[in-house]
Symmetry: C2
Subunit: 467 residues, 2 copies
């Protein structure tokens, strides 16, 4: 270990990791400070990232790295509220919109159990991301709500939490700047796919929320970033270990993601599906979404002391949804962040999405994939489904480009379902007719129907509570 | 292997090496082109260098890398001369001045056996380096000769070879630019000590000389960059393998380097020692230098067809030295490169170096370390001796800074020698009195005298002819 009195040099730090030594906490802090104040060059940071990629990190290093990153800029600290702060983070999926339901469910529970100071007893300071790769982004979805502001200042964020019990914002320029720098570099030098670096990136942002507890939804399967179960499980254990060492009670659920979650994937389509559910309009294709939402919320309610067991928490979550309390909390959050809640009152049909966000709503083009033969819906490439959603216009070609509100897919059948030839499988929607063709053919190739019932994994594969 | 028709992307190339795959020759060429035309960033190059450091290179990759580097800028090609081109390269040492003797020895042999076109039958196109770390640099030594120009253009280099049989220059800005870029990056990101990258660096520059044959002096011991015998042997085998695959007959001699080679270490001091030898003034302390010179030259003369065996070549080398033919060749080379040969005619004593390069020679300060007890001179830290030479003024603090001509050390005893208390061991010389103190004490600590004769390694440990 380096003596605190010795000056640290980045080349020595690189050499230590290169040679398989564990870095001391001061060495990790020196690295993070240096990338933010630019005293360490991109070349040096890249060499160290590659060395970390190939040499790995000890549990102590992996605890020190996101902690140093967390303190690389402004910090958010809800401790003065004396509330229970909790968040959920997903490793990303297709149609994965549980955040839009979980935030209001937990907010409703917190509003129902205020602290002595009169603020919600549970707060969800949700700092979310944008579309990444084939997966959707919570911010992109929320920004289809007219007026909704995801760029609150930290004081505005604080005030919304105190009033509404939840707030959903994007990463601010000054919050965890080290993560933005490191993520851009990792993308540039091919070191994204490192469980250690993914853990540091995710956990630095979650730790920056000063959470009491964190529930992680780690996806596994054809729609996940980590396709293999072992890889997903390893990532989950690293994140739980890191959160726990940092003093945040952390639980990870390994969840199967072999098909889009729920009924829709696409920005406004997903908001609409969630509003339907909160308005007690439950479509059969949303069943997996509701189940996963209640299980994740159940764990959160349990950790927050509102339920003796996670299972009781899931029951409570469903009650909050069905009672309309979640919807009321949702309206409060949306209004507090400047959103126009009148768009949620538009009439809609059960079978097709509404395009009536604005009076000048664009024409929406659609095309439907159907079962080519009778049999069981056996499998699909869910990552390709995600790319289809992006290709239809829901994703931006490069960061900052506008995304389409209405583009996306609608799911008409779930894996394992028995179908007759011609049964609709997936409808594609786009604001540009020319964008329909490629995703249609791409998806068509991946949809498999077979004579016998397929073996399917359960939605929840495993719960990891220690790293 | 990548299809030639597919466009190559640096991030994919980084990922391949990161994941332990062998890079194709087009991938290696893409990397080298990209660092020279700056389409690949320092960050990307650094990530790939670290991945190469940790994942290694296959023999095919290690052949492709220096070959791609060699063609990254201007190339030198002596083929039109129809002569035998050969060079010697040393991995660097303290007092290692064999180049200053070998170039004239081989040039003399070449002048004595001209081609039908009347040019020397052997040419030594020696592209040399500067002081690196604790080791001296051939260019720094030669530049103490007034007027001597190490920055010849390639046509001037060509002409000097045709006339003199040898020329000694520095790397030009356009010759192997990839090596300059990669070396600077490796220094910046802590990836110098990679046998693969050292091999690529050295061999790219040697292959750029379009050699028929190459003799490598790979140092091992306390004064070498590679302290361990196994590491030195591995580096030697990589270089021999790489040269052989590139079509250059390559031989490596593993030579012991546990003490300064010869009588002096320091820029002008080393030139003077070599001139002494070429003028038939042989000091006992120069015996190891003369032995190593003759063995290396012997191998070169053998490879060039001038001797049936390396041993016969060594005898021939010594004859060329003793006959004065090497000195005549030396005078020719120095004069052709603009050097003032009159400085070699100054009278000198046997026991102290001359400072009379110029009339306005500076005052030289000295201090002598002596045996603290009677016994056998058992060991020293030869790397510390090298740092002492640098610290006395022979090295530049940063690239481009001027170096002292007169600073350095004089050796009064060799390892294994039996000494009485007070026998002089090493004299330190500096143009600044204040610089004497630290090297004196640093060296004093490393000099070991013991009651019994030490076990010493032979000068030549092994000859490696296949990788």
């Amino acid at each position: 270990m380096t003596q605190p009195t010795q000056p640290l040099h980045i080349v020595d730090i690189i050499r230590h990791k290169r040679d398989g030594l564990a870095l001391s906490t001061p060495e990790i802090q020196h690295f993070i400070h240096g990338i933010v104040d630019r005293s360490i060059t991109d070349a040096q940071a890249s060499a160290l990232l590659m060395a970390i990629f190939l040499r790995g990190l000890s549990p102590q290093e992996l605890a020190a790295l996101p902690t140093a990153m967390r303190f690389s800029g402004d910090t958010f600290d809800a401790t003065p509220l004396h509330t229970f702060t909790i968040d959920k983070h997903s490793t990303g999926g297709v149609g994965d919109k549980t955040s839009l339901l979980i935030a209001p469910i937990l907010a409703a529970a917190g509003l129902a159990a205020p602290t002595p100071a009169g603020i919600p007893g549970i707060c969800v300071p949700m700092i979310s991301g944008r579309s990444l790769g084939h997966t959707g982004g919570t911010l992109d979805k929320l920004e289809t709500i007219p007026g909704f502001n995801t760029q609150l200042t930290l004081p505005q964020f604080f005030d919304t939490l105190k009033t509404c019990g939840a707030a959903l914002i994007g990463q601010t320029p000054t919050l965890v700047p080290a993560d933005r720098i490191l993520y851009a570099l990792r993308d540039h030098i091919g070191t994204i796919e490192s469980p250690n670096l993914i853990t540091a990136s995710i956990m630095s942002k979650k730790l920056a929320e000063s959470l009491n507890a964190l529930v992680l939804d780690v996806k596994t399967g054809s729609g996940a970033f980590m396709k293999s179960y072992d890889d997903s499980r390893y990532l989950a254990s690293l994140m739980v270990q890191t959160g726990t060492l940092a003093g945040t009670r952390t639980v990870a659920l390994l969840t199967t993601h072999d098909q889009p979650l729920g009924r829709f994937a696409g920005n406004w389509l997903e908001v609409q599906e969630c509003v339907d559910i909160m308005q007690q309009v439950r479509h059969p294709m949303s069943a997996d979404l509701i189940e996963l939402t209640n299980i994740l919320s159940g764990w959160m309610l349990h950790l927050a002391g509102q339920a003796d067991t996670p299972a009781q928490g899931a029951v409570l979550s469903d009650q909050i949804l069905r009672s309309g309390a979640a919807y009321q909390a949702w309206l409060g959050i949306i209004a507090a962040q400047g959103g126009d809640t009148s768009v949620f009152h538009s009439s809609r049909t059960q079978n097709a999405p509404s395009s009536a966000i604005h009076d000048d709503a664009p024409r929406i083009y659609s095309r439907t994939l159907t079962a080519s033969t009778s049999g069981y819906f056996a499998s699909m490439d869910c990552t390709q489904a995600g790319w289809a959603v992006q290709g239809l216009g829901a994703g931006s070609a490069k960061p900052g480009d506008p995304v389409s509100a209405h583009a996306g897919i609608q799911v008409h059948a779930k894996l394992g379902q028995q179908l007759t030839q011609g049964h609709p499988l997936i409808t594609l929607y786009s604001e540009e007719e020319s964008l329909l063709d490629e995703p249609y053919h791409m998806l068509q190739e991946t949809l498999q129907i077979q004579p016998s019932a397929p073996h399917l994994q359960p939605l929840i594969r495993e719960v990891i509570t220690t790293g």
